[in-house]
Amino acid sequence: MGEIVLKQITKSFGDVSVIPPLDLTIADGEFVVFVGPSGCGKSTLLRLIAGLEDVSSGTISIDGKDATRLPPAGRGLAMVFQSYALYPHMTVRNNIAFPLKMARLDKAAIDRKVEAAAAVLNLTGYLDRRPGQLSGGQRQRVAIGRAIVREPTAFLFDEPLSNLDAALRVNMRLEISELHRSLATTMIYVTHDQVEAMTMADKIVVLNAGRIEQVGSPIELYSRPCNRFVAGFIGSPRMNFIEGGEAAAEGAHAIGIRPEHLALSTESGRWSGTVSVSEHLGSDTFVYVQSPEVGTLVARAGGEVPVRHGDRVWLTPQAGKLHRFDPQGRAMSREKVLS
């Protein structure tokens, strides 16, 4: 149950092709995150799976059955929207009960399920309030509650945390991860925030302009990005790219090195430069270095590095952590670096 297979699906709005032919298999119980920049088609892809948009061609099968032409309600999926899309004129209880009422369940069963969902989501005290009287995080939980009472084959989340403040986002991230562990249901989660993708996903699908750039586990994408787009998108701060002579010395069109793989020294190293900005975050320091040889580089250093604007520093890449890219932006083997 819960396996979703997309075969050669495409979507175009009029003459504009949003999704070129695309294949993807999502295994049962997996937490899959669609990540990519704004307008990359990740929300469209989710809406195609939900049935809110019709595919232009290709097939979608859910749980082994062809669902390409099924209406949204017939697919057994539940969706949590970015705006939560709660029903403002109904109490929390009625909001959560709505899908059950639509399924014409009897009242006792509805009450039991609503109470159970409310208990899971810490909403028991709020059942008789209206959505307008709740905080952002509570509204989010109501939206999730409305999704879980249906016991769907899979959950779809469309940027559910983008309207929350930073602290709450971290909390809800944990809650959703825990929910996934306890329900063990397939979840598809769309976000533009690579931190959410890295922390929550079993499998990340990186999308760019409707195309899948790479599919893999968070660590796979982090350590072995298959092209420059993925390399730049995953990881924060983003990877440093160096073109020209230094790259040619490695036998590549461009080389990439993550800020955390650059060793900072005030005495010697491979590339020299002056510090333009150093961001002290307490646990880490991000040092922006202007280097005459390779341009601006970002290095991550420990929390108590005593460098300031204008200091002269040297940066050295850690052995084996250089990424090499060919002129098309594809990743090349790392053998030369390792040797």
Binding site: L52, M79, Y87, F98
Partner: protein, 290 residues
């Protein structure tokens, strides 16, 4: 201190406008109230004298009053029901994307810009006339006996004319409300398994509640005083079949020259309108604290 000064200055500068408005409203009301306690007939000038509440007794025991009260309520209720139902249906239709939507929307709004007298005359002479009217021609083409609308079903005919005038207003308000409905909410309901009818009942209709209240309130204010349509079509007849309170007051004061009786009727109409207003305000209060 500055705020106290500026407050006083504000009161002073606002005073003329407030006094003018109060005078504008209160003087006619006070005069009507005063006339309603006089025997004041334009056919017997100079014989005005205080007669206490006699005008009210005559007005409230007049059989025409009960007929007019019933007609007023039927007119207001009928037009409200028809414009709300029709308005919701039209708004749902016009909310759909289709070719030429802009022009169709403009056409739907058009009747609102036609003067009541003109539209009533057009309906009376070109559509409802039992000999020359369009409906009569249609009926004859189908082999049916043409209906003399204003003679046989006068009140319903007037309800129809007034509905035609007010349908655009209701449609416009409801359409704007409909356009402010969050699409994601409808999609969420669709995902939750709600069919088109369930979505209408549970999502769209509650969302329209406020707009429906506004339409009801504004239309009631105007429909209580429908006059031109009655004057140019039926003159309140046959008998008192289409006489509403407004028309009855007109008939008393300007057809029977009984200014005192007419004034008493006017005051009764004011009281009735206020009773309606109290009910409406309660309804609004309930709908606005959503």
């Amino acid at each position: 201190m500055a705020t106290a000064h500026s407050r006083a200055a504000a009161r002073l500068t606002m005073a003329p406008a407030v006094v003018l408005l109060l005078g504008w409203m209160l003087i006619p009301l006070a005069m009507t109230l005063y006339f309603s306690f006089l025997r004041y007939n334009l056919l017997m000038p100079g014989s005005e004298e205080w007669i206490g509440t006699l005008n009210y007794e005559y007005f409230l025991t007049d059989p025409a009053f009960f007929a007019a009260l019933g007609n007023t309520l039927a007119l207001v209720g009928g037009v409200l029901a028809l414009t709300l139902c029709g308005g919701i249906l039209l708004a749902l239709l016009l909310d759909q994307p289709f070719w030429g939507r802009g022009i169709v929307r403009l056409l739907v709004i058009a009747p609102f810009f036609v003067m009541p007298t003109v539209s009533a005359l057009v309906w009376k002479n070109m559509l409802m006339n039992p000999v020359n009217g369009l409906f009569a021609s249609l009926a004859r083409a189908l082999g049916l006996q043409p209906i003399d609308f204003l003679g046989e079903v006068p009140l319903s005919s007037i309800v129809m004319i007034v509905t035609w005038q007010w349908l655009p207003f209701a449609t416009l308000i409801l359409l704007t409300a409909l356009q402010s409905l969050d699409r994601e909410r409808l999609e969420a309901a669709e995902m939750d398994g709600a069919g088109a009818l369930d979505r209408f009942i549970h999502i769209i209709l509650p969302h329209l509640a406020r707009a429906i209240t506004v339409v009801t309130l504004i239309q009631t204010i105007f429909l209580l005083s429908v006059f031109a349509e009655i004057l140019v079509t039926t003159n309140g007849g046959p008998g008192t079949a289409t006489t509403n309170i407004t028309y009855l007051v007109y008939a008393l004061s300007l057809l029977q020259f009984d200014v005192g009786g007419g004034s008493a009727g006017g005051i009764v109409a004011v009281v009735l309108a206020n009773i309606v207003a109290v009910f409406l305000m309660r309804m609004i209060g309930r709908n606005l604290d959503l």
